[in-house]
């Protein structure tokens, strides 16, 4: 059995603290579960810093640390807290190099999760900060992807936002794009919907559809590779993008860019435009494999 992603994150963090004498900031870090097993069992003397329960100030404190060249890691337990935690990061750390020529690099680990967790804490919330200049956003779901993002962070002067998902921590596999031949449709999933999209692809292929897939990791800057453009242009019905954020955000921004480059229809499937409650009956969950497969069938039928 391969290494789980949680172990990779833990090893990277440990290395980052020891080799770079850096710091990890967050709330309730040393408490239950050590951030779902992604944080080494270290304390303040080792660089693991428990912030006060003051979400806005916390982001500012980490910005100050980054300003001193510490390259801190900042753990945001629920991405819904971006509203509070990222105010000074996107308005100071992300702009610092442009205004004052002082880089303020930090790596934010924003954790998303799903299911019965209410109107704020659930799902991904990158859309709240996506528009801000000076911010780079990634959503790695595998060991290799995570390691690559970290390597890039260490070479960069920018603020990196890593959009994680709790469900990915036990993942041991790598994903591969499939753009071979002529596809009916190409899936472009983000975050946890990548697991569902892979399953949806199998369901649809069994029914005789030819389905391609492009796994999206680098969300900002969003570079559309030429091989993607070629494959999308060749496809019969264009693209279906999926995500665990609301549809009226990052999804539509990226969809528009793909549409501009390929002149093909790009549909989106994310969270419904409604507030989640806590009970299963009133939750707002990302699309699963059945919902993705169903949407593909509808797109194809329409044509």
């Amino acid at each position: 059995m391969g290494k789980e992603l949680r172990q990779t994150i833990k090893t990277i963090t440990s290395h980052h603290l020891k080799k770079n004498k850096s710091q990890v900031f967050g709330q309730n870090l040393t408490g239950v579960g050590w951030v779902a097993g992604t944080l080494p069992k270290l304390f303040e003397k080792d660089g693991v810093i428990e912030l006060p329960m003051a979400d806005v100030a916390g982001g500012g404190i980490v910005t100050g640390s980054a300003l001193m060249g510490k390259r801190p890691i900042y753990i945001i337990r629920y991405q819904g807290y971006n509203w509070f935690n990222c105010i000074f990061i996107v308005n100071y750390a992300c702009k610092s190099n442009a205004i004052w020529k002082i880089p303020c690099p930090m790596m934010i680990r924003g954790i998303s999760s799903e299911g019965s967790i209410g109107p704020v804490a659930g799902s991904a919330h990158i859309s709240t900060i996506y528009k801000m200049p000076g911010l780079k956003i990634f959503s790695p779901m595998t060991n290799k992807e995570y390691s690559n993002v970290y390597k890039n962070f260490m070479k960069s002067k920018d603020v990196f936002y890593i959009s994680e998902h709790r469900s990915s921590y036990s993942n041991t596999k790598e994903f591969k794009n499939d753009l071979t031949g002529n596809k009916d449709i190409i899936l472009m999933p983000i975050s946890v919907t990548r697991f569902a999209a892979e399953k949806a692809k199998l369901i649809l292929e069994k029914k005789g559809f030819s389905v391609g897939i492009i796994h999206l990791v680098n969300l900002k800057p969003f570079l559309i590779k030429s091989e993607w453009i070629k494959a999308i242009k060749k496809s019969k019905f264009g693209v279906l993008m999926t995500d665990n954020d609301y549809v009226d955000g990052v999804l539509r921004i990226l969809a528009h860019q793909i549409n501009e480059k390929t002149n093909k229809p790009v549909s989106v499937l994310g969270l419904d435009d409604k507030t989640a409650g806590h009970h299963k009956k009133v939750d707002n969950l990302p699309p699963n494999e059945l919902k993705i497969a169903e949407r593909v069938k509808i797109i194809i039928k329409k044509k």
């Binding site: 912030l51 404190i61 308005n91 004052w100």
Partner: protein
């Protein structure tokens, strides 16, 4: 002893004089519309930064400095390059903030002064983090209004908990734009800091008083000093809210006599020339 005190007061006066005459030159240019973005003049509030800058200079400490808007006097008191600030206000690329900072976001690495983003009081959190990670002595200048920001309160609490070598200077001009303090709150800065178990003082902007309270304990423990000052000009731009505001600068000039008069004249001419040159 008397001579030492006089030298100290004159040195502070010199720093304050640079600030005052600099701001007077800026004022003229706002009136003439040569500067068209919002400018936050610090005339009347020079004595807090000028005195603290003199204290740290004597102690040969080079602290990290985090100011916010109305920061020209902080920049100038601590020895920021005057020419570069003039150029900045003229939007030039060789200004202290490369023409990006305007009046509000000025910075200078020469004096360890970090720029401000525009969120009132954000410098409290950012300065706290910088001090925590670097362990360097740090001064955070905020206003009496910024002190009310929830994230500033949280920063004070954490600074106290972690016993950081930070001096919070509350430049208390009694105004949030034009809303007076007693319309906004029923507590005082000194009491608030005490509740967080911080050393705290409340005083007028008299340089000898500031020096008396800060000289010995500076950076030895987290400290907040609330200094009452008088803003001479509008919150932003050129104009006056009221006439006959107490003016510490003029009071000190009178007190210090001929030497101060000469310094005042000399610096006034120098500022005029520098503004013309740049």
């Amino acid at each position: 002893m008397i001579n030492n005190k006089r030298n100290f007061s004159l040195n502070v006066f010199e720093r304050a004089s640079i600030c005052r005459h600099f701001e007077n030159e800026v004022y003229k240019r706002i009136v003439k519309k040569e500067i068209e973005f919002p400018v936050y003049l610090s005339a009347g509030q020079e004595y807090a930064p000028a005195t603290i800058a003199e204290i740290v200079s004597k102690k040969q400490i080079k602290p990290l400095i985090f100011g916010q808007h109305r920061g020209h006097s902080i920049y100038l008191s601590f020895g920021g390059d005057i020419n570069k600030l003039i150029k900045e206000l003229k939007g030039k690329k060789d200004g202290c903030t490369y023409g990006m900072g305007g009046s509000l976001s000025i910075h200078s690495m020469k004096i360890n002064m970090y720029g401000h983003d525009g969120f009132m009081g954000s410098n409290a959190c950012i300065g706290t983090g910088a001090c925590f990670s670097s362990k360097k002595p740090t001064i955070i200048f905020i206003g009496d209004a910024a002190l009310e920001e929830d994230y500033v309160l949280a920063s004070l609490s954490w600074v106290s908990k972690k016993k950081l070598p930070i001096l919070f200077v509350v430049d208390d001009n009694n105004y949030a734009v034009l809303t007076k303090k007693d319309e906004r709150r029923d507590w005082e800065a000194k009491e608030l800091a005490k509740a967080f178990k911080m050393q705290s003082f409340d005083m007028m902007d008299d340089p000898m008083k500031i020096s008396k309270y800060l000289k010995k304990s500076l950076f030895k423990q987290p400290t907040l000093v609330n200094i009452h000052t008088q803003r001479i000009f509008w919150h932003a731009g050129a104009g006056k809210d009221k006439e006959n505001v107490f003016d510490r600068y003029l009071q000190q000039k009178k007190l210090l006599g001929r030497k101060a008069d000469l310094l005042d004249e000399k610096i006034k001419k120098r500022m005029k020339l520098l503004w013309e040159k740049n």
